[in-house]
């Protein structure tokens, strides 16, 4: 019996798909799973797991939060970068913040829990917190001293042009103090929760302020990574934390600095990527050499 042409073609298609599913979908990946059992490769194929006293504590490739149950940093550990994965460093919910470069206006609700901070405010708040934890100046450009984005909604007489009629500091609510008292002669008001000053015609105007262009808190300390699982911090952020960790562990800062260097990976072949400090490996080494009192 001769099959109709269109039917023969789809039958061939189905048979081809099944053949390729067996070859490429089963034989190929399972052969590689088997290859991953080779000693030397097995640790990596299993996820580079790290063990302490027979207990698995994580993976050298996956970052962790070093915070207590309330989410506060545990000072005897080097801290990781901010993370947007789940509640932080959750490998079952990897994610980036996906907030854009002009995400500068917070959505403020009466209940602070329901407010959504802009990326700028998140950066400012992190910078302030890290500055306080490590005893350095946490100020940044476009940030207020109370750690939110320094952004004004400027209302002008003719919409986009004309004299300034009203100015609101959109990310600050009472009882804060406006980060500047006046803008082009007009006194600056605080924002009221629930109000949309942009929809009302206010022009978004970020204010640079007089913070140093090269802030003391490094860039990676105030930004979330793409994976939300970044195992590394920059050598600069590690250096910032050395004194605090050494103090908490009654250790010599130079000895801690040596451990940081041991756990810093440089660029591959001298030019690929950037140096990074593996935070989990470093903290494990600290626990071994300087068990906290």
């Amino acid at each position: 019996m001769r099959l109709p042409n269109w039917f023969a073609q789809h039958l061939a298609a189905l048979r081809a798909l099944l053949v390729f599913t067996v070859l490429l979908g089963l034989a190929y990946p399972l052969a590689l799973v088997a290859a991953g059992r080779i000693p030397g490769l097995a640790d990596k194929a299993d996820g580079s797991l790290l063990t302490v006293d027979g207990r698995t504590v994580g993976s050298s490739l996956i970052g962790q939060s070093f915070t207590d149950a309330d989410g506060n940093p545990v000072p005897r550990y080097f801290q990781s970068r901010p993370s947007a994965s789940g509640d932080g460093y959750d490998p079952t919910a990897t994610a980036a913040s996906n907030l854009g470069p002009e995400s500068v206006v917070d959505t403020l609700a009466a209940d602070p829990e329901e407010s959504t901070p802009s990326l700028l405010t998140q950066v400012c708040a992190r910078s302030k917190a890290v500055g306080e934890l490590d005893g350095v100046d946490g100020r940044r450009p476009y940030c207020t001293v109370d750690g939110v984005g320094a952004v004004l909604a400027v209302f002008r007489a003719d919409g986009l042009t004309g004299a300034v009629t009203r100015v609101v500091s959109v990310n600050q609510v009472a009882p804060a103090t406006p980060f500047i008292t006046s803008y082009e002669g007009v006194p600056v008001e605080l924002a009221r929760p629930g109000e949309d000053y942009l929809a009302a015609g206010g022009l978004v105007t970020p204010i640079r302020g007089n913070a140093p262009a090269d802030p003391a808190v490094p860039a990676d300390a105030v930004t979330a990574s793409g994976s939300g699982l970044d195992p590394h911090i920059s050598p600069a952020y590690a250096e910032l934390q050395v004194n605090r960790v050494a103090r908490e562990r009654d250790a010599d800062p130079m000895a801690v600095r040596r451990l940081v260097e041991e756990h810093t990976s440089g660029r591959s072949l001298g030019f690929m990527g950037e140096p990074g400090v593996d935070v989990l490996e470093l903290n494990l080494a600290l626990d071994r050499e300087f068990p906290a009192g």
Binding site: A13, L23, L24, S268
Partner: protein, 551 residues
């Protein structure tokens, strides 16, 4: 060494490696697609499929074979996801919702790999490796096969026959994609990519929290995701995830794999039409556009303009410490210059102009160098448009590699170019008209960029995302699924029709009046035509989105 110097060396080393492999690897590809001997394994495959490898196909039959294979693949993949809970290694996940399964089935069969879902919380290991990853191979092979069929149209004369789709599919898969994938996967595993069937290891962290270290057959899928310019990540975080892209050198390797086949295929074109220099001209067009784009993306990202990057001191949001700004920007440009769409950093948090570059790359039609196969056939059609424009200027019938470009050819080529812009602009307009743009995370120009990016990515079969938009709704999944389907197969049908009509012609000997198509002048003209076509089509939309935000 400063970060900028290292970043420049990184790009240069990629360029040197691609130049070094162009000839040997391109010649190998040529032998694979033009040889007549069948290995024993291949003969076994043909028997199981039930096709005669010696039978040649006319363009219509070739096209119907492509469509039949893709239709069956979509149905199979859809069913696979809908009943994953009854199969092994499902990790306890529910069946994928119907609009999501439709979207994902189309997405992987069309080589797009747009992902509305998080791999780690939606897809079981069996669906990933025996469903999605299989399409990573065969959808790439389909793209290369169609490109080869078009080149046969240029190379052959007075024949209706363009080769045999099943033979092309089998050879490209077994002789090109599979061997490189095995080697690449082993290399990634040495770097630290995971390859197991674990459902996850729960651990107690140093400070007493819990964390689940995920597992899966990741390395085997990661390598073909790059090599086949697919882009669908095993995990939501894609190639920024340390288990997919663990080190700075695996990052280099992944970019190299992305660019390897697309940059080598012009050599196949040159060899098959018997004029190697024609292939060099095509690869030169690709290289000019790619170098410009990679450079600009790096410049914009390293400049770090914008309020948040200025506050931070660098455009580091959404980027990993090990890749930092420059190697992330290079990956972003490479993934969108091809049809890959894998990401090692999140484009939504790029500076306004840095984030515009991936969008522009896709709008170029992904021809520099483009997806595997799709880049070559896209650029060959641009070359036809260019000889046509040049022919209009001097009043001669245009020719390209010995074939006359008549009205039928130009009609097919023009239709090819209208499809994607129509899908992108109509789709974006529909999203705003129906209020479905409200799922975008950002508002204002950035919100428009997010919608525009989604439709550009789907219609060009790229699959990367300006991820700050919720696309797991029925409307988005259906609309983007349609864009992916039409954006893939309408051009393929037109390309094969064009191939058929070229193959029937008899060769026209070059004469005094023939425009030489291997000289720098022609390369410059193709670059110009490409850029002008895009500018005319998309500039208004870009002006309202990223340009309004960045300037």
């Amino acid at each position: 060494m400063t970060m900028t110097t290292a970043g420049v060396l990184f790009i240069l080393s990629l360029g040197v490696a691609l130049v070094a492999v162009h000839k040997p690897f391109g010649d190998y590809l040529y032998r694979v697609v033009s040889g007549t001997r069948h290995s024993r394994v291949e003969q076994g495959v043909y028997r199981l499929v039930g096709v005669n490898p010696a039978a040649e196909q006319a363009w219509g039959v070739y096209a119907r074979s492509v469509l039949a294979f893709s239709a069956v693949s979509i149905l199979f993949l859809y069913g696979f996801m809908r009943m994953q809970n009854h199969l092994w290694l499902s990790l306890g996940f529910d069946p994928v919702v119907s609009h999501g399964a439709w979207n994902t089935a189309v997405s992987f069969v069309t080589n797009t790999n747009w992902q509305w879902y998080s791999g780690e919380s939606t897809m079981g290991h069996l669906v990933q490796m025996a469903g999605l990853a299989v399409q990573n191979f065969v959808s790439a092979a389909v793209g290369i096969a169609v490109a080869v069929a078009l080149v046969r149209g240029f190379a052959r004369s007075r024949t209706g026959e363009l080769g045999n789709f099943w033979v092309d599919l089998t050879r490209i898969t077994l002789r090109i994609l599979l061997p490189i994938s095995v080697l690449g996967a082993l290399a990634l595993m040495i770097g630290g990519a995971v390859q197991n069937l674990s459902a996850g290891t729960e651990v107690t962290t140093l400070t007493g929290g819990t964390q689940t270290i995920t597992g899966g057959p990741v390395a085997s899928q990661e390598v073909i995701k790059e090599l086949g310019t697919n882009g669908g990540g095993f995990y939501n975080a894609n190639s920024s995830h340390p288990f997919e892209n663990p080190t700075t050198w695996t990052n280099w390797l992944e970019i190299f794999l992305i660019l390897l086949i697309p940059f080598s295929l012009p050599r196949v074109f040159g060899r098959m039409v018997g004029q190697v220099r024609q292939g060099y001209a095509i690869v030169a067009v690709m290289a000019v556009l790619a170098i410009a784009s990679i450079t600009l993306t790096n410049v914009f990202e390293l400049a770090g303009n914008g309020t948040v990057p200025q506050a931070v001191g660098a455009a580091l949001e959404g980027k990993e410490v090990r890749f930092d700004v420059s190697n992330s920007a290079t990956f972003a440009a490479s993934t969108t210059l091809t049809s890959t769409g894998a990401v090692n950093s999140f484009h939504d948090s790029y500076t306004a102009l840095g984030g515009m570059m991936p969008l522009v790359n896709m709008m170029l039609g992904e021809v520099a160098p483009g997806g595997v196969g799709a880049g070559l056939y896209g650029l060959l059609i641009l070359a036809l448009i260019t000889v046509f424009v040049a022919g209009l200027m001097v009043g001669r019938t245009p020719e390209y590699v010995g074939k006359k470009i008549g009205s039928r050819e130009i009609k097919l080529a023009s239709l090819y170019f209208l499809i994607t812009p129509a899908l992108v602009l109509i789709g974006s307009a529909a999203a705003f008209a129906t209020g479905n743009n409200s799922t975008a995370l950002n508002v204002g120009p950035h919100g428009l960029s997010e919608v525009l990016y989604a439709f550009t990515s789907a219609s060009n079969n790229n699959g990367s995302a300006f991820a700050g938009i919720t696309v797991s709704t029925p409307w988005w999944n259906t609309a983007l699924g349609l864009c992916m389907l039409l954006g893939r197969f309408l051009p393929i049908i037109l390309v094969l029709a064009l191939a058929g009509s070229l193959a029937r012609q008899q060769p026209t000997p070059a004469s005094e009046g023939t425009l030489p198509t291997h000289r720098p002048l022609f390369v410059g003209m193709v670059v110009g035509v490409t850029v002008i076509l895009v500018a005319l089509t998309f500039l208004p939309a870009l002006a309202l989105g990223p340009l309004a935000e960045g300037l």
